[in-house]
């Protein structure tokens, strides 16, 4: 099968300024901060909805999936719509909807062999190990990093097991009313995928 040359792998995560995506026990209660940055943009629900439509599939680790299930159990809804959601796990986890697919094989094979030929916009949404692996293997094209106005002091790192420096190219910065800053970077010169010179 030919690779979809337009496909793009994005890593998206929200973290504290000191670089943690969750507390040690996986809690993300600090995500709801109450800062007010008067000059910031507001997240218009219509815009968010239109933006989410541009995402074709999600990839996540098993603990991120379990967190998503716990949010749903609390009545907070399922964040990934009916988009295909690939959960990387070798465990036996509950499957609550048809759009969820479990995968326990090789990540390169999943991304290059299966996802890129099928989907245009592929989003990795956590956690640190999965996203670190995605970067380390040279699979990611883009990193979207939302920094929340808080220092949490301890927790699970944004990227784990990254074994080398990785240069990025800053594409976009946006600050929101909540005090959240979203930084969007292109991953520069990673091996593996042939791509057009930027």
């Amino acid at each position: 099968m030919m690779a979809n040359t337009d496909s793009r792998v994005t890593i998206h995560m929200a973290a504290s300024l000191d670089g943690f995506i969750a507390r040690r026990d996986g809690r993300v209660d600090w995500l709801e901060t109450s800062d007010e940055f008067a000059n910031g943009d507001t997240l218009d629900p219509g815009f968010v909805e239109a933006f989410l439509k541009t995402i074709d599939c999600y990839v996540m680790g098993s603990r991120t999936y379990e967190t998503a299930l716990s949010f749903e159990a609390k009545g907070l809804g399922w964040s990934y719509g009916d988009k295909p959601t690939f959960v990387l796990t070798s465990r036996d986890l509950p499957r609550t909807r048809d759009s969820v697919k479990f995968y326990s094989g090789d990540l390169v094979q999943l991304v290059n062999g299966h996802l890129r030929p099928t989907f245009r916009s592929i989003w990795f949404v956590g956690g640190g190990v999965v996203c670190g692996e995605c970067l380390r293997l040279g699979l990611a094209d883009e990193v979207r990093y939302s920094i929340l106005p808080i220092l949490i002091g301890d927790g699970m790192a944004f990227f784990e097991k990254l074994d080398r420096d990785m240069p990025l190219h800053l594409v976009e910065v946006k600050a929101y009313r909540s005090g959240m800053v979203e930084l969007c970077y292109q991953v520069r010169g990673h091996p593996g995928e042939p791509r057009n010179a930027a």
Binding site: D18, D35, P149, D165, H169, A175, L183
Partner: protein, 182 residues
């Protein structure tokens, strides 16, 4: 009153130096007026390791007449223009603030930041986010640290791809500081 400002360059993944204290990954920004930045300060606070880096050949000189305070329990030697402090207590910080006429630059590193932040001494956190991931190194805020709420005050981007994020540190909130370190 002079403010204590932690102004630091950081990789996107939260490191302020490489595993062996390397700084070679920090981009020097041609549009950045370093002397204007230095002119806002007349006092510099640093830990022992950061001080040793500033003593290596090729490090930029500190402004004439500025005061440097190095926090160390082990440093014995004397250095001109440098006061060695054994601890960062309320008393010592109050004395330093009283002497300063401009702002106070918390020059690093992470451990001194953690200690001063925990005691509520840090007024602002000014981060220059460099466009790279380091994967390992000395942390911006070493763990475990206490939680602190911030308020985004300004942000801008320089053409070299550095994101400048400036925050003020919000006063401690009893409700939030419960259950720390868990």
């Amino acid at each position: 009153m002079p403010r204590i400002r932690y102004a630091v360059a950081m990789s996107l993944d939260g490191y302020i130096a490489g595993p062996n204290g390397e700084f070679d990954w920090i981009i020097s920004d041609p549009d950045y007026d370093f002397s204007a930045q230095f002119a806002q300060f007349d006092t510099f606070l640093m830990g022992r390791r950061t001080f040793e880096i500033t003593q290596t050949p090729g490090s930029p000189p500190f402004p004439r007449g500025s005061k440097r305070f190095v926090f160390s329990r082990t440093l014995r030697d004397e250095f001109p223009g440098v006061a060695v402090m054994r601890e960062a207590s309320h008393t010592t910080i109050a004395e330093i603030r009283a002497m300063a006429t401009r702002d106070i630059w918390l020059f690093g590193g992470g451990e001194l930041f953690r200690s001063l932040l925990d005691q509520g001494f840090v007024d602002t956190v000014e981060v220059k986010v460099m466009p790279l991931l380091l994967g390992a190194g000395l942390q911006f805020l070493p763990q475990p640290a206490h939680r602190a709420r911030l308020k985004l005050s300004t942000h801008h981007v320089s053409p070299s791809g550095i994101a400048h994020l400036n925050y003020s540190v919000l006063p401690k909130d009893a409700r939030l500081s419960k259950g720390l370190g868990t």
